[in-house]
């Protein structure tokens, strides 16, 4: 298929662009295979350069011969194009519609994108499972890398390499896979170096109504416990939901068969409930006509912050089991690809200082989201403006990022990255020139040959010029566990995402800049004082008389 077939009118003059907080601009609108571009041809800049894949929904209106297209983006921005001529407008609209809903992944922009920057480090090889294993688990000989899933035959949504207890052989893993939803047998997610406790994750056990059991499964998860120790199983579903799952062949671990484990049920919502919550929240943020009370009531009715609280609470509970109770845990919901990953990754943010650095966080996303098989392609296909009633779209990853932002807000000096880093990840998960978030799991990514055909997001991000934008000046590395507050008073609407296009951030940006200046100036002085100090030290024969005793 040629893009040219889809582009009915490649170019229209005298189009007026309306964006929030900018004056309207008149210019020429161009449609390319992947972008919508508007330029007024002043200063050689383009006022609009929008990926078609970022378009969530469009509306059109006509007043006489003047057509208006309202474009609603997956990053929640809303822009308006006034296009003279009804035919042009209709053509543009239908072209955009076609181009923004391409069926084939291989037609997406990442397959056409040619980077204009020099690749210093190929992001596809930045976080290899073997290296990560070294980093996280080298200190213990209780774990091993298993290649049982090399051909994606045991579990289609798992990566080829997983970490499992050393005492369990691949044959047993194959058996366990048949007993877990989607073949997702329990694997290591996190190893807490301080006390050797671990977080495991999996799919639900397929106990069904007649209480099926699997000796290998029991053996596998018991193998993670040290002698005389007990562990916790955190089921991210409520007990009722978990019980209902039995009717469909799913279920949960029976106490009788797992006597060393205690099960805790938390209820984290999934799928369309989250999607509806997002739709309501964005609607509330965009509606500026209501009074104060209706704003709060709409915010409340969206339940977004309730979901945040629930997810964070469960993650804190998991972290608490590990760090305070000294107990290992197994986490799963139904498939183990959504709420499970929210909990395992947030628990690591709380427990593991490295995951609060830029590289560590990237590694976390690579391990706990991409490799772990969160179906990005499905979940992020549509955003807050979609009207499709597909079941699989869900802002699971955005909720995770929001939770990270909540922790960052409470511990602003403990993260190497800033809010912009999280916003950038959100944008790229929904629409990107990079291949990182394409596909639903490693198996699909392999088939698409993403490594060969597309550029990794990390190749772009991990260059000094980009990193500078995402680095928090406040960061002071600390090796501590950080316990966030989950009280409603401590949880806030993430304005940087949800009000981004509805308020001017000028004054807040200035404040950030000021903060950077204050810290940079301090560093500059420190750098200056060294060369001054040394000669004077030498000249004075090492007699140190520092003005300041710090």
């Amino acid at each position: 298929m040629e893009f040219a077939e889809l582009i009915r009118t490649p170019r229209v003059d005298n189009v007026v662009l309306h964006r929030p907080f900018y004056p309207a601009v008149e210019g020429t609108l161009c449609l390319t295979g992947h972008h919508l571009i508007l330029s007024s041809r002043q200063d050689n800049t383009e006022e609009l350069w929008l990926l078609h894949s970022n378009i969530d929904a469009i509306d059109k209106r006509f007043v006489g011969p003047l057509g208006t297209i309202i474009i609603k983006c997956k990053d929640f921005r809303i822009i308006q194009l006034d296009i003279p001529g009804m035919e042009e407008c209709l053509n543009i609209a239908s072209s955009i519609e076609a181009l923004s809903t391409l069926d084939s992944i291989t037609l997406m922009y990442p397959f056409f994108y040619r980077p204009m920057f020099e690749v210093i480090e190929d992001g596809w090889h930045s976080f290899l499972p073997e290296q990560e294993f070294e980093l996280y688990s080298c200190s213990c000989d209780e774990w091993r890398l298993s290649y049982v899933n090399k051909e994606f035959a045991v579990c289609p949504s798992y990566p080829p390499i997983v970490i499992v207890p050393k005492s369990i052989d691949d044959e047993a893993l194959r058996k366990v896979a048949t007993f877990r939803h989607g073949g997702r047998f329990p694997v290591l997610s996190y190893y807490h170096k301080k006390n050797g406790m671990v977080i495991m994750r999996s799919g639900q056990p397929l106990t069904g109504t007649n209480g099926r059991r699997c000796k290998e499964d029991e053996k596998l998860i018991n193998a993670t416990l040290r002698a005389g120790k007990r562990g916790y199983i955190i089921d991210t579903r409520s007990l009722t939901v978990a019980q209902q799952a039995r009717a469909k062949g799913g279920g949960f671990e029976q106490e009788a068969h797992y006597p060393q484990w205690r099960r805790i049920h938390k209820s984290i919502e999934r799928y369309h409930i989250l999607q509806e919550s997002l739709i309501k929240l964005v609607e509330a943020c965009n509606d500026q006509t209501h009074n104060m009370d209706r704003w709060l009531s709409k915010l409340e009715a969206s339940n977004w912050l309730t979901h945040i609280k629930e997810i964070l609470t469960t993650a804190c509970l998991a972290a608490q089991c590990i760090d305070r109770e000294g107990a290992s845990i197994l986490i799963h919901g139904t498939e183990g690809t959504d709420s499970t990953l929210q909990v395992t990754s947030l628990a690591q943010i709380i427990l593991e200082p490295r995951s609060r650095t830029i590289r560590g966080f990237e590694a976390l996303i690579e391990r706990e989201w991409l490799q772990a098989g969160h179906p990005f392609q499905q979940r992020c296909a549509q955003s807050a403006y979609c009207n499709s009633k597909q079941k699989w779209e869900s802002p699971v990853f955005l909720l995770f990022l929001d939770c990270v932002w909540q922790i960052l807000r409470q511990f602003p000096c403990s993260f190497e990255f800033n809010e912009n880093f999280l916003i950038m990840l959100f944008e790229h998960a929904y629409a990107s020139q990079f291949g990182t978030f394409l596909g639903n799991n490693e198996s699909e990514r392999c088939k698409l040959k993403l490594q060969q055909k597309t550029m990794s997001l990390w190749s772009w991000v991990n260059r000094p010029s980009e990193l500078r934008k995402f680095t928090s000046p406040l960061f002071e590395a600390n090796n501590l566990v950080i316990w966030p507050s989950v009280a409603p008073q401590s949880l806030h609407l993430w304005e940087g995402i949800f009000l981004r296009w509805n308020r001017s951030s000028k004054y807040l940006d200035e404040a950030y800049e000021e903060m950077v200046n204050i810290i940079e100036y301090n560093k500059e002085l420190q750098a200056k004082i060294l060369p001054q100090l040394i000669p004077s030290l030498l000249l004075e024969g090492g007699k140190l008389q520092r003005c300041k005793q710090s």
Partner: protein, 660 residues
Amino acid sequence: MEHIRTPKVENVRLVDRISSKKAALGTLYLTATHVIFVENAPDTRKETWILHSQISTIEKQATTATGCPLLIRCKNFQLLQLIIPQERDCHDVYISLIRLARPVKYEELYCFSFNPKLDKEEREQGWMLIDLSEEYKRMGLPDDYWQLSDVNRDYRVCDSYPTELYVPKSATAHIIVGSSKFRSRRRFPALSYYYKDNHASICRSSQPLSGFSARCLEDEQMLQAIRKANPGSDFIYVVDTRPKLNAMANRAAGKGYENEDNYSNIKFQFIGIENIHVMRNSLQKMLEVCELKSPSMSDFLWGLENSGWLRHIKAIMDAGIFIAKAVSEEAASVLVHCSDGWDRTAQVCSVASLLLDPHYRTLKGFMVLIEKDWISFGHKFNHRYGNLDGDPKEISPIIDQFIECVWQLMEQFPCAFEFNERFLIHIQHHIYSCQFGNFLCNSQKERQELKIQERTYSLWAHLWKNRADYMNPLFRADHSQTQGILRLPTTPCNFMYKFWSGMYNRFEKGLQPRQSVTDYLMAVKEETQQLEEELEALEERLEKIQKVQLNRTKVKSKQSEPSKHSGFSTSDNSTANTPQDYSGNMQSFLSRSPSQGDEDSALILTQDNLKSSDPDLSANSDQESGVEDLSCRSPSGGECVPSEDSGKDRDSDEAVFLTA
């Protein structure tokens, strides 16, 4: 002292608000000025101090097997639950506190016994720090249009106004007196703020006694005179800050609002801010939400909405924005009033002034603003904040709302204010503490009669002395945000107004961000300053040495680096950070409570431990517990004033969040 039935009760438990299972055992002392709880734990002997004047309500709850619970709610939003073993003791404490918390004479208030060990001269200087006549001069007064009037000398015309007032030059004494007779409590139109750039002014008054048809020639002339004092505009706005319905109801009582037909060239405008009773109830409702034990997100948001608090804040802000726009953009003068012109009018005039004039966004300027629009114009501090026992229906959080408006603006314009959130919180605290004389009484006249300046100390001097703790590190005098008018978006932005947990939950440290960017930046700036000095000294010395060594061999080669220069590591200032109760109603399963003061989470950087800032904040920690002596002296060297934040509460977030 005669009101203290029992000065000391032992084996009292102070219940932790967040986790009801954890309670500290200690001794409760009642002194002439404070309630003090000293924990038994030998290593900390943590003390919690509560000023009697901060006590809002005391509630005796049903006796349980463990003892008799006493709930003390404070005006600075602290909440204390004590369990006293003996019912009799509890009753004695209760009766004593009821009396102590409601003094009947001014002389009983703390400021008359508080002695920060300053000499007479220092005290007098303290009172001179803020000078309103200087402020009017700064505004450019007197000038061709405005003059200082002595019509209210000896409070002859209006006893709730100050003696020094600016009025239009063309307003004769006859007009003023005539107008005053046509205004509630004789509060005639007088100048609040003068925008010298375009001669527009903000004037304030009380409502006219217009009833259904009454007129007053002098009052009409008075408004005319205000209009004429601004040659750039041919009309003035008259802003009635009440809801129209309330204003209309007042007409039946012979009061009301200006009839546009009777006054030439006025534009009349209602801006519906609710009355003191609505505001009191609203705060009450919001505090109930804050007090909820482990509320759900919906409980909280629903309760917050239901309280209407943020809607009221927005109404006040909207009024201030309207006036600031009228003055700056339309160059029109504005007369503001409500009923008596001392509550809503004070709020709205001061918000508008703050938006218009960067001076009021500085530390000193903000003190001036409160002095001008609140203290001098007769805001009834004593009645509103219940300093003396009085009619509970007079109590209302009017200045609290103004302070919150300032905070809401600080959130929007982080670089625009010279002071930080702590400054606002401490001012709020001291409005209720009665530790300083500034906010006593209901009017200037009363304060003068009581000889406040001779007998008490000024808060402004105290805050000024500790100003380093109140600085906003992001403030720079030459920053664009600190210049000119603060312009808020024109579209109604409801999400702009947020719940201020730093104020209303300020004693629940666990709910606050665990690391404070403000404190971090303050520490960085302090270090920067030291570095600058050090660098200068080094350069000087190097120059000297180089002169001496000029003939000797040159020194090359690099040396090992000196140790890192960091004086503000977050983890130096540590208190334990422990998990909250994450298990919700799954209470049974996690049985062991985490060990306290665990070594592993020391990274909290908040105001309490980073700096002892206002000595008020931390004073109590090193005090001996010779309780009888503690009441009005400060043992640790004159500066330490036991009050704010009830002592060294730094481990209050050590709370065990696991209700096992």
